[in-house]
């Protein structure tokens, strides 16, 4: 900025630090709670420094869930969440990059129709068509399967448009040079398009992994068996009716494990994440 006044820089840092403190507070309290015993966590007021139960609490929930609420082991849920996030991320990227390639590099009857059919799916999130979709999945016998958990969420146009946009920036001459070099369409796809799309794929992967991991409403509907729960829906099932029955230290340990993988992905791949976020919102 233009002026150089020390107090302005200082006030900037103060506001930001305050903002960060507010953002971090819930996580800190959750972390502390996840390291305490049941008695400590229900003490009023709760201790505000980490306790000694970290390994025990996390180990307990991973192996056999909570004692008073749901007993589904969180280890299994984490695995389900991971599988779901991976299938959604990889599935979306795979089907989108192929269809974008077809739409950009081929002319075929019904191309326009396909484009618009995909385009329309941009508009409707799964939340609004939830029950009809549930019925289709149930009719196909996909309740409590990974396919049922992921396939309806793979149908989205965002990734297709991102790839289409990216392909449009690849110079035409590159494809012409490849044709003269003797490469057919699929060879061109593998040797040129795919390597050039690496960054877009990675950016999209970060966004889609987080999206998949954090799904709530859909897994809530299509999973009925405990061994198919994802961790995000598993947490809620641990909160039993009354306050006395809720083992907050275990709920918080589960919450920490539920938020750690996507947060780690976002923080570690921050640059790709920001890029993916900005590009998918075009």
């Amino acid at each position: 900025m233009v002026e150089h006044r020390p107090w302005r820089a200082l006030s900037g840092h103060l506001v930001l630090l305050l903002g960060i403190a507010v953002v971090v507070l819930p996580i800190y309290v959750a972390f502390v709670a996840s390291t305490l015993t049941f008695d400590q966590v229900t003490t009023v007021p709760m201790p505000m420094t980490p306790g000694t139960q970290l390994v025990k609490n996390y180990g307990d929930v991973i192996a056999h869930g909570s004692t008073l609420g749901s007993r589904a082991p969180v280890g299994r849920m984490l695995w389900n969440s991971f599988v779901m996030a991976m299938l959604i991320a990889v599935g979306k990227i795979a089907i989108s990059i192929l269809s974008a390639f077809a739409i950009v590099y081929f002319r075929f009857p019904l191309r326009r129709t396909c484009f618009w059919l995909i385009f329309v799916t941009l508009m409707l999130p799964v939340e609004v068509r939830i029950f009809p979709t549930y019925k289709v999945v149930a009719d196909l016998g996909l309740i409590d399967t990974y396919a049922g958990l992921t396939l309806p969420l793979i149908a989205s146009a965002t990734a297709t448009f991102l790839f289409r946009q990216f392909f449009m920036t690849i110079p035409d001459e590159l494809a012409e040079a490849a044709r003269i070099d003797g490469a057919g369409p699929m060879r061109f796809f593998w040797d040129v398009v795919l390597p050039l799309s690496r960054t877009s794929i990675a950016a999209l992967f970060v966004i889609m992994f987080v999206y998949g991991w954090n799904q709530y409403l859909w897994p809530l509907l299509v999973t009925t068996r405990e061994d198919m729960y994802t961790v995000v829906i598993g947490i809620k099932r641990m909160i039993a009716g009354g306050d006395q029955a809720t083992e907050w230290q275990l709920v918080m340990a589960t919450a920490m494990m539920a938020l750690l993988p996507p947060v780690a992905v976002v923080v570690l791949m921050q640059r790709l994440f920001v890029r993916g976020l900005v590009e998918t919102e075009k």
């Binding site: 900025m1 002026e3 302005r8 820089a9 930001l16 903002g19 953002v23 819930p26 309290v29 966590v41 009023v44 007021p45 795979a94 089907i95 989108s96 269809s99 390639f101 590099y105 075929f108 326009r112 059919l117 409707l124 999130p125 939340e127 609004v128 068509r129 939830i130 029950f131 009809p132 979709t133 019925k135 289709v136 196909l140 309806p152 149908a155 297709t160 449009m168 035409d172 494809a175 044709r179 369409p185 699929m186 954090n214 709530y216 409403l217 809530l220 995000v232 809620k236 909160i239 306050d243 907050w248 919450a255 539920a258 938020l259 996507p262 947060v263 976002v266 921050q270 920001v274 976020l277």
Partner: protein, 293 residues
């Protein structure tokens, strides 16, 4: 814009596009058309008789005070989430844009709530604001506030708004920061030379130049508050107390799983679809980043 180069094949493009088309048709168009059809049917509880009733389900909905109440709740909720979320994140972004040192560190520390699932965010705040053991509740009690979101409708609304804003702040922050950083510094310097102080510069130059970003974020935040916050509400208040936090999406879910009125549930889905389509169209109309074919 079209590619000049095209490959020729009579079957390959269809094979390439088939997976996406198959999934789109089966899990998107089929259910969506089912919803449209069912929204005009009347079924009795045992699905023994089905009657085509045109728009009666919609008429019934708009005559139902509980449905209208959930419209009101959604309006209040999304307004609060959008206004609070945008204000706070713009404030943070403006300060982050200004500081030279540690800018990247602040950014990293502010973006990660985006990655926290809505339901998990809700659980974190349920714990913080738990009427008996919540850390923040104790502070509130000490200040003389009789905080209890389980029985006080206003408190319940405050809880879900806080959780929703907390999660969305990082998203808004990133876009505001990018928008701020795209403003040429020379413009601000010119204004400073013209004698405009920092506050005046912000309101007369920065804010107007930021308006496309702001508009985009308003639409995104409304969509977020309407649809993506189901997890927050289900995991914290379950729509209560007495419907105080029952949003449209939550009501669709509640009616669909409990009330067994398929026609009404489908009609609600159709209304939601209409809302999303409207918002998307508005977004495309007013933002220049249209999808061009």
């Amino acid at each position: 814009m079209e590619k000049r180069v095209v490959f020729r094949s009579s079957w390959l493009p269809y094979a390439l596009i088939a997976p996406q088309m198959a999934i789109t048709l089966v899990f998107f168009f089929w259910p969506a058309s089912q919803a449209l059809w069912q929204s005009m049917l009347l079924q009795d509880a045992f699905a023994a008789k089905t009657q085509f009733v045109w728009f009666d389900n919609f008429k019934d909905l708009f005559a139902d005070p509980r449905y209208l109440a959930s419209f009101r709740v959604t309006a209040v909720f999304s307004t609060l989430v959008t206004v609070l979320g945008l204000t706070l994140s713009l404030l943070l972004a403006a300060f982050a844009d200004r500081v030279v040192r540690f800018g990247a560190v602040y950014k990293t520390l502010l973006i990660w709530p985006y990655a926290v699932a809505t339901a998990v965010a809700a659980i974190l705040f349920v714990f913080l604001l738990n009427p008996t053991i919540g850390v923040v509740s104790l502070l509130l009690h000490a200040m003389g506030v009789d905080w209890n979101y389980l029985i006080n409708p206003t408190h319940a609304m405050i809880l879900v708004v806080i959780a929703a804003v907390w999660k969305q702040i990082s998203y808004n922050f990133l876009f505001f920061l990018a928008g701020l950083q795209a403003i040429p510094k020379s413009l601000l310097e010119a204004a400073a030379i013209d004698g405009a102080g920092p506050a005046r510069r912000f309101w007369t130059i920065v804010f107007p130049l930021l308006s496309p970003t702001t508009f985009f974020l308003v639409v995104v935040n409304i969509v977020y508050a309407f649809f993506d916050t189901f997890g927050i509400i289900d995991a914290s208040t379950s729509g209560g107390p007495v419907q105080a936090t029952t949003t449209l999406v939550f009501k669709v879910y509640q009616d669909g799983t409990q009330a067994m009125d398929l026609g009404s549930s489908a009609a609600q889905s159709v209304i939601l679809m209409a809302i999303v389509v409207t918002l998307t169209v508005v977004q495309f109309r007013f933002i220049e980043r249209k999808v061009q074919y």
